[in-house]
């Protein structure tokens, strides 16, 4: 059994347990068995509730039964329905906007454009370059132009159709390489950021040189819960916005600026979030909703259709990457050269930070003494791109791991041996000059993932072969391949950003209330916060509240694999401060020294565990409350050579993939992905497994099917009919061979963020396995059936 598959009630992950392979299905069984034993009222199923136990989410049952209220389920008395008019053109001048007919429709309460915006016209996470409403030009197909509020959603749709916009379409700039030299499509120019990274001896040469060009298509976060929210105006001119987002406070700041209101008058509340993966970092409907509510003086609700959702949020940056690796004959890496171009689309969003990641991590988790990397994020008339799970680390991992395979081939060396030979460790330097520091068990994750035993050969069941339910496979034409990849990424924000999280803990009797604005987007912060409370205060009655933006300070974004560390850290410190106060109160009452006391299951107990006084007696009606602001270690910006201590910490991951390929039809069935991950410490085994399975599968999607197709700036497949994500029949068995627990000295509990890592190395591992099965180069993801079928037919006849 794997460390994750234990059904025992004790914390199932033992730090030093040897890597134990599992039969394909037991990882999933483990999760199910544990949760099916549900009986506790406090959501702690057969566990202590402490750190390290598989505490079940408080909303798990509601979500499973469809009772959970998502932001799309919000409702208020007398509310109106909002709807946005979007540009059909990727590039055009707006000659006029005529809203007269829409305004006159009965039941239409407001039709608003740029001219109605009292505050800033533009917003953005970084540079404020994106208009709330297009004014004289549109720069991408899908850009908002006007917003309507009406008494019925269908009426709102008709009103939007009744707005007449006179466009003068222009030829869109859609090629990211051309963007570097083409006339600017925005006064801020076409280059969001160019990073020149130079490290070591850039003239160094290797005995063996391999070169390749790689491409990554535009992936979408494809969350289930569409963008939605409800804005409720108050008579004092303030507004409450209930919204699904990843970061309440930064939304608030942008919304308030555009509304021309002081931030205190815009109160954001977290509504039920149906997935995020980066797509809710930028604001989408927030300003329009508040503006409509303030104008109509009525609550306004908006829910994106699926098509609008695909057009309304940012996507993963498509990438074009050129690489040249130099190595000595024994496999030691000498130098990596790369040129990375990310298509950021029409507006900046987080492009500048994404290209920084892509550039900093361009060489992979390897010891690379010299490097010359040029990273560009450019502006085009394609849909804006920004944050998505893996954030720049995904694209380059596909390229550098493809290169490592190519290099192993050229050296006639085992690809895993090559990776082990160059694996970075904590005392080595990255190509940014930064010493890795902390913990870097790269060799361990490589070995553990590589050790997984191979699954049984495919049975003859057509459902289990490539093509699945379509039953088009021919057993004789199915070839099995295996592949391997390693990846890594920074945790938390980088480049000198002053990142922090705020939390408040209030203990009243044996009931603790945590207020922290960390956005719960499905990752399990609400569960973790409970565990932290139980661990530090010894109570199991815990209320978690995200408050509103006036009640508590910022918790930062639910992104960058940072909330367990940052908000977990804030909650931990707040709880510790409360514990200290409670213990000194008890010490006073009991006339003992506080060091002789601790907290356990609702009591202050003596050193040897004898209950002395209950928390109810001590604090009921006299609550103890502490607030803290938690910061991580400061980082530095990158200098003009892309050098500097820009990152706080790193986590590492490896995947081994097994695929079956119908080489004639070009169809793929990913059979198994085994993985090992550097997690520092396991806080909640079940939730961690959820992150690993989900992230790994998202990587499978990018490898073989997920792509938002954009032709001449127009998205071709904005629907779940045509934007394909893996189904159960596409999901491989995911086997966790090892969770490496080397505590990060800087992190609360030593735990590293774990949300993004699984999505990084799974894609290159799958493609490597397809290459292994077919012998094809396959330099672009997602790999399409025709790439395999036609490539194979050609190589077969040659």
């Amino acid at each position: 059994m794997s460390p994750m598959s234990s059904a025992s009630p004790v914390p199932p992950v033992l730090p030093m347990s040897p890597p134990m392979p599992v039969a394909p299905d037991t990882t999933r069984e483990g999760g199910r068995r544990e949760s099916s034993g549900s009986n506790g009222s406090n959501g702690m199923i057969g566990t202590s509730g402490l750190i390290g136990s598989s505490v079940i989410r408080p909303d798990a049952v509601d979500k499973a039964r469809g009772d959970f209220a998502f932001s799309s389920d919000l409702w208020a008395e007398g509310m109106l329905w909002g709807k946005v008019l979007r540009s059909p053109h990727p590039s055009a001048r707006i000659l006029s906007i005529d809203t007269a007919r829409a305004q006159q429709m009965p039941g239409v309460m407001a039709v608003l454009t740029w001219a109605d915006l009292p505050g800033d016209q533009v917003f953005g996470l970084d540079a404020k370059d994106q208009p709330v409403f297009a004014h004289d030009v549109v720069r991408y197909a899908g850009e908002p132009i006007a917003a309507v509020a009406a008494t019925h959603p269908e009426l709102a749709r008709q009103a939007v159709d009744a707005i007449v916009v006179d466009f003068e379409p222009a030829i869109p700039l859609v090629d990211p390489d051309e963007a570097l030299s083409a006339p600017a499509t925005h006064e801020a120019g076409n280059v969001f950021r160019h990073i020149t990274l130079r490290h070591g001896d850039i003239k160094a040469e290797g005995d063996v040189v391999v070169e390749g060009t790689y491409e990554v298509g535009m992936q979408d976060q494809a969350f289930m819960g569409p963008e939605s929210g409800l804005a409720i105006p108050s008579s004092d001119g303030s507004v409450d916005l209930y919204i699904s987002t990843q970061w309440l406070h930064v939304d608030r700041d942008q919304v308030a600026a555009c509304l021309g209101l002081p931030p205190e008058l815009v109160r954001l509340h977290l509504a039920g979030v149906g997935g995020a993966f980066g797509a809710r970092e930028d604001i989408t409907i927030q300003v329009q909703l508040c503006l409509l509510a303030l104008r109509t003086r009525r609550p306004v609700k908006m829910v994106f259709s699926r098509a609008e959702s695909f057009l309304g949020h940012v996507h993963r940056h498509p990438a074009r990457m050129w690489y040249r690796h130099h190595a000595r004959r024994d496999g030691t890496l000498v130098k990596v050269e790369a040129r990375i171009v990310l298509d950021g689309g029409a507006y900046m969003s987080s492009s500048a930070a994404v290209i920084a990641n892509a550039t900093c991590f361009a060489a992979g988790p390897y010891r690379v003494p010299s490097a010359a990397v040029d990273g560009f994020a450019v502006r085009t008339n394609n849909p804006p791109c920004g944050a998505m799970r893996g954030f720049g680390a995904v694209q380059v991992c596909f390229a550098y791991e493809s290169q490592m395979d190519r290099l192993a081939d050229a050296l006639q060396m085992d690809p895993i041996e090559l990776r082990l030979k160059n694996a970075i460790c904590s005392t080595d330097r990255l190509i940014t000059g930064q010493v890795v520091g902390g913990t870097a068990p790269v060799a361990e994750v490589i070995r553990a993932a590589a050790e997984a035993p191979l699954p049984e050969p495919a049975s003859g069941d057509l459902l289990e072969l490539p093509g699945g339910a379509g039953r088009c496979a021919e057993y004789d034409k199915v070839v099995r391949g295996t592949g391997f990849a390693v990846g890594f990424k920074n945790l938390l924000y980088s480049e000198g950003f002053d990142d922090f999280s705020t939390a408040r803990c209030r203990l009243d009797g044996d009931m603790a209330t945590i207020t922290c604005a960390a956005a719960e987007v499905g990752q399990g912060f609400v569960t973790l916060a409970r565990q932290v409370v139980t661990e530090t205060l010894g109570v199991t009655k815990v209320r978690i509240s995200s408050g509103d933006t006036n009640e508590i300070g910022s918790a930062g974004s639910t992104s960058a694999s940072r909330q367990s560390w940052m908000s977990g850290g804030a909650v931990l410190e707040a709880c510790k401060a409360v514990a200290d106060r409670v213990l000194s109160m008890a010490a006073d009452t009991l006339q003992v020294r506080p060091e002789t006391l601790r907290l356990s299951v609702g009591y202050v107990v003596s050193g040897d565990g004898i209950p002395l006084i209950s928390l109810n007696d001590l604090t009921r009606g006299k609550p103890v409350e502490e607030s803290v602001v938690f910061h991580h270690k400061p980082t530095d910006p990158l200098d003009s050579d892309g050098q500097g201590n820009a990152h706080v910490s790193f986590a590492f991951v490896a995947h081994k993939a097994v695929v079956d390929v119908d080489v004639e039809l070009g169809l793929v069935r990913v059979v198994q992905l085994s993985t090992a991950q550097d997690v520092g410490k396991v806080l909640n085994p079940l939730q961690l497994l959820g992150q690993i399975e989900g992230g790994t599968l998202q990587g499978v999607g990018l490898a073989v099917m997920e792509e938002l197709l954009v032709a001449d700036g127009i998205v071709q497949n904005p629907s779940f009919t045509d934007y394909l994500i893996p189904t159960t029949l596409d999901a491989p068995d995911i086997v966790v061979t090892r969770l490496v627990e080397e505590p990060d000295p800087l992190a609360p509990f030593g735990a590293k963020g774990a949300g993004e890592m699984p999505a990084i190395s799974s894609t290159p591992a799958v493609v490597s396995a397809i290459r292994n099965a077919t012998g094809l180069a396959l330099s672009r993801v997602p790999v399409r059936p025709q790439d395999i079928a036609f490539g194979y037919a050609k190589s077969d006849s040659a």
């Binding site: 039941g107 009426l155 339910a469 379509g470 039809l665 099917m705 045509d722 029949l729």
Partner: protein, 298 residues
Amino acid sequence: MATMSGIARPVSVEGVLDVLDEDPATQVLAGGTDFMVEVNYGHRKPQSIVALSRVAGMRTWQVVEDHLVIGAGVTYSQVMKEQLADLLPGLAQAARTVGSPQIRNAGTIGGNLGTASPAGDSLPILLALDALVNIRSKHSSRSLRVDEYVIGPKKHALQPGEIIVSVRIPLSDTSQEFLKVGTRNAMVISVAGLALVVDWKSGRVGCGLGSVGPTPIRASEAEAWLAGVIDWENRRIPDRDGYGQEFGRLVARAASPIDDHRSSAAYRSYALSVCGKRAYERIRRQQRQVLPGIVNGE
């Protein structure tokens, strides 16, 4: 805004036909798996609806002499169940390729014909089986072959007031195969689909193609070629080099696929020829081993 005047839920075919006779603009709702998608996208704005779900007579199938009559309201899940799947393995195979379990529980054969999409997965096999579409209105009834019924992309020959009540399929001694290629292992719109039926009793070959032209296509040349090489007396499909390939080539020649965001014309033709070859080989092997049709449904 126009409001909906209501949903009629008759319990008999006659009741449905009465509603349509009174108001031919009334829209027919079966499982709703196409209908509601169109409503959600604003492509369909029904003023009045007649629902078929309570018409018990349309939700069953029966053997009538040497034919099988399948009610228009029969779902994919029903088609995949044993008895029907034994009689029509190719249709059961096609049904298994449709959508997800939820869609197969709701979606009907009548609805697939009603949408008349070139990607409708039941259409190639119905074509290959020589199925007749039984159509009625209050005052008339008629039957059309599938290739007479589908007259263009998502266009069919129904007149106002008419509905499909059933499909009628000759019962015979057949071998059947259905293959569908898509870029996902389940719940995917077909990039190319092929149904092959060899009728040992009548010495006839049927081959229907999906998603490779504006309508489901009959591969007549390929059918004739295969009928010509089969040793009907000994029930043998020749095991000769290049025969499967030739069949695949002829099948692909019947197609007129397009490039779109789901695939390229070149890959569609190619995949079709591979499917033709594989269908040929599967039926040849089945015949030799005298195996019953294999169904992978649950």
